[in-house]
Assembly symmetry: C2
Homo-oligomer: 330 residues x 2
């Protein structure tokens, strides 16, 4: 009978409460991203891995899901939106806002990946640089909010979490027998959304977070049961340098989500496997989940594991510069 | 009535005669590769492009199709197979032969891409290096044949051509309204197979070859109506350095297939677009078809164009070495 009453509630929502409900709201706006597999990576990991290709989502990361949901809620008289972002949320928000004819202002750390800065601009966003600290990012956003723009922060926001959670809804529809889903954690928008989606799913699915050791605020927070404020990120995974959000911490704590940590060298090794074997251009942050599966293989042995490839935005120019001399004479 | 008699023939074939027939023979052996699109690349090119992801085929290139068909024809008492290859056909043949329990010997130029040499070995093949000339490659293969191995050359072979042609059969099934298919040409196995498949297709589809200016033997041969023997390839597209084959020339001449040429710089630019926008790891040879579409845009304006991404095998280590210093301290 519980199911019946739940359905009654769904019939007259004032707001989506689960990623499952958010998914129907996003239909036609976000891409259904493909799932890839590779026998040789299964052998390497000792489990069956399905890779969810969110780097093929619009704007090159899962961030377009949450941003689209948040923008869909805005009133038509909204003056515009503002956020802080290492880049992927900024580009996603710019794309979603521009599609509604709204300006998007994005505070970015001045050490942001160049491709990500260009992407925010290419999708119609206005970039405001700040020092690469959590405090400077939040202050920059506060300034824009005082100018009248609606804040849509990158992860500590209900709609962002619900929107990112649609990754799991879609994934579990595509691959119905997953035991575990592993995803990277920065601020925790994606991971909290996945945990909420898994809680609503018909069969049990374990959700695991993967975090760089150089930005292990989520692991420390969840292990201690207290959200840390000590945070000096130092990792190649530029998309995972943010501090875990309040809402995100609460949700991950509530669902007792485990976090596994990996070194930058392990991230780079996983990224190499993804490029070489899956032939996918994955940014460092997008390779962290595979790195965790390979490092902590005993936790996944024989399982059916879903790995989220969260984004594919990185500076390729230095890499292509290596190929230039080979063709300079022709 | 023609269709009826054709079907009668299909019921008792001694040998497949079309890529359409070859496709059923390969079912379950080769992967159905996905098709990708990107709005921004459509805008750049001025046409609608569907990208056929043969770099996601087993062994990382379309070559596995032809090699699998050729190996399926061998008698059980075959001593093994031999070929020459810049790498992709070698790895494909090694994988197909190993799956049948047969040894595969591969003559490779000593300047072959390291990843491709490793791939031949990883798939169970034996590598024999030679000078990087057409003559040395053919002499190396002749030596192996005199040792009793069955030659399965990389392109000038009926089964290879039919097998590669299944790319078009599959592609036209996935995207039914294509006006044109553009594919790279080296020896011409893929392009000849595509031309045969298009000739059997229910509606007209134009087949266009894309060739590096530094290895434009196919363009010169088809323009003059005579297969050239003058060939000193100099291009970054290592998979397209071979001389067009006899059979391949005849088929392409018969179907009046056009060849468009591009510079190495144009190849590299197209490759950059594919990595950055499609997020696909494509080798230089695999980017030549898009390079031709972008350079000769007036020929494709407003059309629905299928572009074959033929392979994704290249040395990534120098590229990843660039990222290492960033994470050395962590």
């Amino acid at each position: 009978m519980t199911g019946y009453y739940t359905n009654m509630l769904v019939d007259t929502p004032d707001h989506e409460k689960t990623p499952q409900q958010a998914q129907s709201c996003l239909r036609g706006q976000v891409l259904t991203t493909p799932v890839l597999r590779a026998d040789s990576l299964d052998q390497l990991a000792g489990c069956q891995i399905a890779f969810k290709c969110e780097h093929l989502q619009k704007t090159g990361s899962f961030k377009f899901r949450g941003a689209s949901l948040a923008v869909s809620r805005l009133n038509d008289d909204c003056a515009g939106v503002a956020t802080h972002s290492s880049g992927n949320h900024g580009a996603a928000l710019a794309a979603a806002a521009t599609a509604r004819g709204l300006p998007a202002h994005v505070v970015m750390p001045d050490n942001a990946v160049r491709t990500k800065v260009e992407s925010v601009k290419a999708h119609g966003g206005y970039v405001h640089f700040c020092q690469p600290t959590q405090q400077a990012r939040e202050q920059g956003l506060a300034n824009l909010v005082s100018d009248g723009f609606v804040p849509i922060p990158p992860y500590d926001h209900d709609d962002i979490i619900l929107g990112q959670g649609t990754v799991a809804v879609e994934f579990l529809d595509q691959v119905q027998d997953l035991d575990t889903i592993v995803a990277p954690i920065g601020g925790g928008g994606l991971l909290a959304g996945l945990a909420m989606a898994a809680a609503e799913h018909a069969r049990p699915v374990r959700i695991v977070g993967a975090e760089p050791i150089g930005a292990d605020d989520a692991a420390r927070s969840l292990n201690s049961g207290q959200r840390t404020s000590r945070h000096e990120p130092d990792t190649i995974a530029d998309g995972l340098r943010a501090l875990i959000g309040q809402r995100n911490f609460s949700i991950l704590n509530q669902y007792a989500v485990d976090i596994l940590t990996v070194t930058d060298a392990e991230i780079l090794s996983a990224m190499n496997h993804l490029w070489r074997t899956l032939k996918q251009v994955i940014e460092p942050s997008g390779a962290v989940a595979l790195a965790a599966v390979l490092k902590h293989a005993e936790q996944f042995s024989g399982q059916r594991v879903g790995v989220i490839l969260s984004g594919g935005n990185l500076d390729l120019e230095p890499m292509f510069a290596l190929l230039q001399p080979q063709c300079a004479a022709r």
